[in-house]
Amino acid sequence: MHYPVWDLPFAHGLLIAVIAVIHVFIAHIAVGGGLYLIVTETLARQRQDPVLLAIVQSHSRAFLLLSLVFGAMTGVGIWFTIGLINPTGTSALIHTFVWAWTIEWCFFFMEIVAALVYVYGWDRLSARQHQTVGWIYFIAAWFSLVVINGIISFQLTPGPWLSTRNVFDGFFNPTYWSSMFIRSFWAIGLAGLFGLWTATGREAGSRRIWLQRYSAVWSLVGIAAASLAVLWWWRKIPETARELTRGDMPIATVVTQWTPIAVAVLAVIVILGPLLFPRRSGRPVTLLVLGLGLFCFGLGEWVREGVRKPWIVQDYLYVNGLRADEIDRFREGGILANARWTRSVAATDSLALGRELFRVACQNCHARSGYNGLASRVSGWEPQYTTALIKRIEYLRRPMPPWVGTADEARALALYLHQLPGVPSEVALPADGRAAYERRCSPCHSLGGFRDLGEYIEGMESEEIYEFMEYMESDYMPPFTGSDRERQLLADWLGQNVARTKEVGR
């Protein structure tokens, strides 16, 4: 609403997801791997095991490439990407936490230099010096996670900061500690998975079996502890966010159900592979568990990002760059009068108006078509109905910022969406009552769950429901804009089936 919106042919979320998941995955390996390296080096030296020590040395080189080249560069990548996708949000975070970031930078600086000295210093430093540098690396890396965690968890639960604007309130927010434990343990788990990479490689030689078991223990301990921390976190997030994963937001619900399953599968493979049968286990299994680790990580991060929607900072700033305290101002004059970076177009040119509106109000989350595309969503609706829904968009089951435009703007936007390629201009009669329900009521109601329609129409006959639809229009409900046939179909189905569903439910 304040900054230009990048007009991409796909949903912005995809870009962030790819870069962020890769970076965050590697960044956690970089933290946990630091501990893995220094503990294993110490172990090798205590046991006076030169073979193991040589393995650690070769592991550290791969680790350097991974954490400095891929970790640090994709980290810069996230910076660039969030600045492009969400300038207002990035700006809010920077202006609240720039000092936290400078502190993070100090740790990052130490981390980078320590990594270089550690890897290049195997033959140059005394054993003690080398181990000290290893510890410096791990501590600095872990502290950079500690700092960044404050900023990320702030987005979901800014807590008292909302009223105090005190940086410490925002930083040590309600989910700070639980997130920190999740991330720290998960880092250890991933370090174990990455350790398996070396353990199953040529360099592992005679220590292949031992090293696999050893790394498997690391990953299992990390995964188990992180899972416990997730349960704690779960109790700390806002109730509304939890609701999203219980049916309010279908995709978040599915992903949330899948995450524990994927983690369990990962743990089972680690147990059955490297832990119990290391002789049978090799690079393919390692690749599989690393891939699964990345997958679980992606799911977890998806849930965290997903349940925050429609906010970029909960209760302060929406994903489309609208601040909560700006809603009234926007509503008064409409979007185009208040948003910057909109082309001035003639008020009569609805299509051009709609294009501008789509970009500033929706494109932060939606594409025109494809993943999260709107073309397929409005197919099967008539423009009148789409207009009515847009005006009430915050009441949809999906997490969307409130509509702050005028009635004319809603109409222009709907018109624009309906002329997108692939949207049929004629709307056919739904095949049956259920399909009519999907079209007319399910965007906001569910059967048996969130805003349970059965409950609202309790005891109503088809006749009454039919009558009700005549007058259903309200601040939160659209008028019934379908044909009479459709209305009859829907009323019949609701009267006969939804009540029954409810009885079964009791």
Binding site: S91, I94, F108
Partner: protein, 371 residues
């Protein structure tokens, strides 16, 4: 007034503007020195590599090889540090000039995002060259050229973004013609002189560093001292003399209302600019004398300090250009200050600790016996 420029962030800045400005200039100066060594080192080692590849003369080839390898082994570390010291000014730039930086980034989103793969590939290549560059065949030559090309492309894109950020009046035409982020700043008359000025500076600064290393080696009677001193001085003097041309070109390409303050309109900015133009002349003369002196190191050292001050002066001048260019849209005084002193103090303390720790690690590394 330009309707597009977003207002300053209502959350204000968590410390006085001068503090963030100072940190911006400090970290950006360090970024430039490191970047200069990276770019200059890549170019010089590429040229030496080409000479070793082509030349038939045994002794000459060996000399070129040693010099190329000296740079190549240091490029990955220089890369990591350039990035580290690039992140810091990026932070302060967003704190102070966010509305301009974010807007221009979106206007040229695709090239801007392309920096990331470019960084990944170029950085990896510096490792490849460092670890596998003992041989001087065609394959290594190609890697070396790729590194130089990657670095120049990165600098090209960054300079475009910094340029678009200073031209709010050009945003509408670009963005509304096409909002998919495919623009550059090539229509800005100051674009090419600006980029050229930065890239030629990189050669000069690297020449200076090479001359320093050479004269130190000469002092300690290590091999290659004399040659590196001479070569470094040459790499320093020629590009730096040429900078007078590129600098003047940049100056006259600026709009009048930005150029005039530097030429008397704004007293402090003029003084800084004039000093920053005089110092390199002194530095170059000093370098010439150093080449003739019996013991060169003290004079080379002095010359490098003069160059260092020049660099800081030029960073301040570039900042004055930015302030004057944006004056119609935004002044730093407009930012609301909501200080977080305890956080600032924590940063200050930790910064000192970090310097100490990094210093210690560097020392034990350098003191350790070579492999």
């Amino acid at each position: 007034m330009n309707g597009l420029v977003p207002g300053p962030d209502p959350l204000g800045i968590p410390g006085p503007a001068w503090l963030f400005e100072s940190l911006l200039h400090l970290t950006f100066s360090l970024h430039l020195v490191l970047m200069n060594f990276l770019v200059g080192g890549a170019v010089i080692s590429m040229i030496e590599r080409a000479r070793a590849w082509r030349s038939g003369d045994e002794a000459e080839t060996a000399e070129s090889r040693r010099l190329a390898r000296w740079f190549e082994k240091r490029l990955p570390t220089a890369f990591a540090l350039t990035v580290t010291f690039g992140v810091a000014p990026l932070l302060f730039l967003q704190t102070l000039y966010g509305p301009f930086f974010y807007s221009s980034s979106v206007v040229m989103a695709w090239p801007w995002l392309w920096i990331i793969p470019l960084l990944l590939v170029t950085y990896s290549l510096t490792y490849v060259l460092s670890w596998k560059g003992q041989d001087f065949g065609g394959w290594q030559m190609i890697q070396s050229v790729k590194v130089v090309g990657g670095l120049l492309l990165i600098a090209f894109v960054i300079s475009n973004n910094m340029g678009v950020g200073l031209r709010p009046e050009a945003w509408a035409a670009k963005y509304f013609a096409n909002a998919s982020g495919l623009h550059l700043n090539l229509d800005d008359p100051s674009f090419w002189p600006r980029l050229l000025h930065f890239m030629v500076a990189a050669l000069g600064v690297t020449g200076m560093i090479l001359a320093m290393v050479g004269s130190r080696r000469l002092d300690r009677e290590q091999p290659d001292g004399a040659r590196w001193l001479q070569l470094g001085a040459l790499w320093y003097l020629l590009p730096t003399a040429f900078q007078i041309v590129t600098g003047l070109w940049w100056l006259i390409s600026l709009p009048r209302e930005v150029m005039m303050p530097l030429l008397g309109g704004d007293r402090p900015a003029t003084i800084v600019f004039m000093v920053a133009m005089t110092l390199p002349l002194l530095s170059m003369v000093t370098m010439v004398f150093a080449l003739r002196a019996r013991r060169s190191f003290p004079l080379v050292h002095l010359s490098s300090w003069l160059l260092g001050l020049t660099l800081v002066g030029m960073v301040l001048t570039r900042d004055a250009v930015r302030r004057n260019t944006l004056a119609a849209h935004f002044r730093l005084q407009d930012l609301e200050v909501m200080p977080q002193w305890s956080m600032a103090l924590a940063f200050g303390g930790l910064f000192v600790v970090a310097l100490g720790v990094v210093g210690w690690m560097t020392r034990i590394y350098l003191n350790g016996q070579r492999d």
